[in-house]
């Protein structure tokens, strides 16, 4: 009994140490290097010395963009989740559990139906409008619900998302674009190539803005009265936060597809060890999100080599396991 307690304490301590920024950075570097050299075509670092070799071309057209996409999507979705959890004051709210992802998908469908050959920019704008509207609608619902149970709220969000999703499926079916739409449903990095992922770079300035607003988000996370007491324009900060979340979600869904659970588990893990002071936890959350997604991607590429398991399946399986663990553990710390 006592032995177990000590062992548990040591485990937690070790995890806490592993959460230090420099270890996370180290892990990220090692995994990134691994990711670059895992794949169907064998590429060794020496091949890269020859700029015109086929290996170098693959490296530049496929491997490097893939890595960048994973890093940006991982960091972006985790930060989006973190901001949503802080602003909704609920640990189980994320783009997956608040309908943001489903609203985005509906937006993409509308863009495809309205503009026959929608450019990425058009899709992005329409999807952004929908993602924003969906998220704001969810926040409005949240405002009106008196029963603010930690588990109840995300359930409402999931139902809301499912309604949006069925609307999407209905119209996609009518317009005969179901197959096209399911491509947006499944997150997949194998299609990421030079020229197809650059939209994701938008998340870099967004992450910087998020960091700049970190303190304000933390204060807003303490509630409207608390924020007003400190002279903070609560509504404006919440709106800015939700716009950032919608922007990140839209760019990720448009380039990679839906990645469930990421925005849910990563911020929660970081919160257990580092607390909820965003200025301190944002870097860790971004790093851990990128690391987690990299691990899932590398595993997905290796398990049925030379084929690939899509990232949304990998994250879904591993992520839901961790999510369940968090649910059970929650009583212990909350």
């Amino acid at each position: 009994m006592i032995f177990n307690v000590i062992k548990k304490a040591r485990n937690i301590e070790m995890l806490g140490t592993a959460m230090k920024k420099r270890y996370l950075l180290l892990a990220l570097l090692v995994l990134s290097a691994t990711s670059l050299f895992v794949g169907v075509s064998r590429i060794s670092p020496i091949d890269l010395l020859n700029i015109h070799s086929e290996e170098t071309q693959i490296f530049l057209i496929s491997r490097l963009p893939r890595l960048v996409a994973i890093l940006l999507a991982g960091a972006g979705m985790s930060i989006a989740g973190l901001i949503m959890q802080q602003l909704s004051r609920n640990k189980f709210v994320s783009p997956t559990t608040a309908g943001t992802l489903d609203a985005t998908r509906l937006g993409i469908l509308v863009a495809m139906l309205l503009f026959a050959n929608a450019t990425t920019m058009q899709k992005m704008l329409v999807a952004l409008v929908f993602a924003l509207a969906g998220t704001f609608l969810f926040m409005q619902i949240l405002d009106r619900i008196k029963f603010k149970d930690a588990i109840f709220i995300p359930l409402v969000g999931l139902m809301f998302g499912n309604i949006l999703s069925s609307v999407t499926t209905f119209f996609a079916y009518k317009a005969d674009v179901i197959q096209n739409m399911s491509a947006w449903l499944q997150g997949d990095f194998s299609a990421v190539m030079k020229g197809r992922y650059e939209l994701l770079y938008i998340s870099i300035p967004i992450l910087i803005i998020a960091y700049f607003y970190a303190n304000r988000f933390t204060v807003a996370g303490m509630g409207e009265d608390f924020s007003k007491n400190l002279g903070l324009a609560y509504k404006r900060i919440v709106n800015i936060g939700l716009i950032l979340v919608a922007l990140i979600t839209v760019t990720v869904v448009l380039t990679v597809g839906m990645i469930p659970f990421l925005g849910l588990i990563i911020p929660n893990i970081v919160s257990i060890f580092k607390g909820d002071h965003l200025q301190k936890t944002l870097p860790h959350t971004a790093l851990l999100g990128a690391i987690f997604l990299l691990i899932c991607d590398i595993l997905g590429r290796l398990i049925i080599y030379p084929y690939e398991i899509s990232i949304s399946l990998m994250v879904g399986v591993i992520g839901s396991g961790i999510f369940l663990y968090l649910l059970f553990r929650r009583k212990a710390y909350a």
């Binding site: 004051r89 609920n90 640990k91 930690a150 970190a214 303190n215 304000r216 933390t218 204060v219 996370g221 303490m222 509630g223 009265d225 608390f226 007003k228 007491n229 400190l230 002279g231 903070l232 324009a233 919160s271 607390g275 909820d276 002071h277 200025q279 710390y333 909350a334």
Partner: protein, 253 residues
């Protein structure tokens, strides 16, 4: 000095606060007392700008509070509502540091750090400043929030039922701290209280409310009288003088 002038607040057609005018004296503890639903918290929320009044004005040193910038207002008036932000994992020090937010927007200067240190010291929280709020007892947490308000360094400190969910020991501790804030640091404290004996023992001035109106407004010893209490609570409450305190024995009346 805060002057409340014919303030009203309606929810639908029902007046929660109706035509209230009171003056809050500087460097005193003023308690708002009265039965449930008397409008005490609503009044406090309007004074602190958390709620907009439907009619009437709140003047702070002759300035309409609605005309003040939120940041400037936050440097002069702080308000703590019944706190239940327990799912936020911040350390005590992080929370107290947010008291400096109106001054530094989160980028703490050396001066800010010094004030945070002092506030923690004042509330006896220095040794536990790195503990997370969700790991504290109710009394410790309430002390942490008050430390934040001290760091906010406002002339006026408004508290909505600060003794809620606290046991006797911690309630006394909090009230003594509020007394010191007034006596030692020259703050003006306004509290909504449920326990009439805490109001009697610790406050200088009492505003008694009922059905959205002020029924009594005066120095503590004038309000803690059987006939005045009868008017406020509809109860015959005998008053006992004990150790220099006027105690209301309402348990069997």
């Amino acid at each position: 000095m805060i002057e409340v002038k014919s303030l009203s607040k309606f929810y639908g057609k029902k007046a929660v606060v109706e035509d209230i005018s009171v003056t809050i004296q500087p460097r005193k503890i003023t308690s708002f007392i009265g039965p449930n639903g008397a409008g005490k918290s609503t009044l406090l929320s309007m004074v602190s700008r958390l709620l907009d009044a439907d009619t009437g004005d709140v003047l702070m040193d002759q300035t309409d509070v609605r005309k003040m910038k939120s940041n400037e207002f936050a440097k002069r008036v702080s308000i703590l509502k019944q706190s239940n932000y327990m799912n936020v994992r911040l350390t005590i020090r992080e929370l107290v540091s947010f008291g400096r937010f109106p001054y530094s927007k989160g980028r703490l200067t050396e001066e800010d750090e010094r004030i945070v240190d002092q506030s923690l010291e004042y509330m006896g929280l220095t040794d536990m400043q790195d503990q997370f709020l969700d790991e504290l007892s109710g009394g410790q947490r309430q002390r942490a929030f008050i430390a934040m308000v001290i760091a906010q360094d406002t002339e006026y400190i408004l508290l909505d039922e600060p003794l809620n969910n606290l046991d006797m020991k911690h309630s006394v501790q909090i009230m003594k701290i509020l007394r010191r804030l007034v006596d030692e640091l020259g703050k003006t404290v306004v509290i909504v209280l449920h326990d009439i004996n805490f109001a009697s023992v610790y406050s200088d001035w009492i505003v008694a409310m009922k059905d959205g109106r002020v029924v009594k407004d005066g120095p503590t010893e004038q309000i803690i009288q059987s006939d005045a209490l009868k008017e406020i609570y509809d109860m015959d409450i005998p008053i006992q003088q004990m150790g220099g305190c006027r105690i209301c024995v309402y348990f069997n009346s």
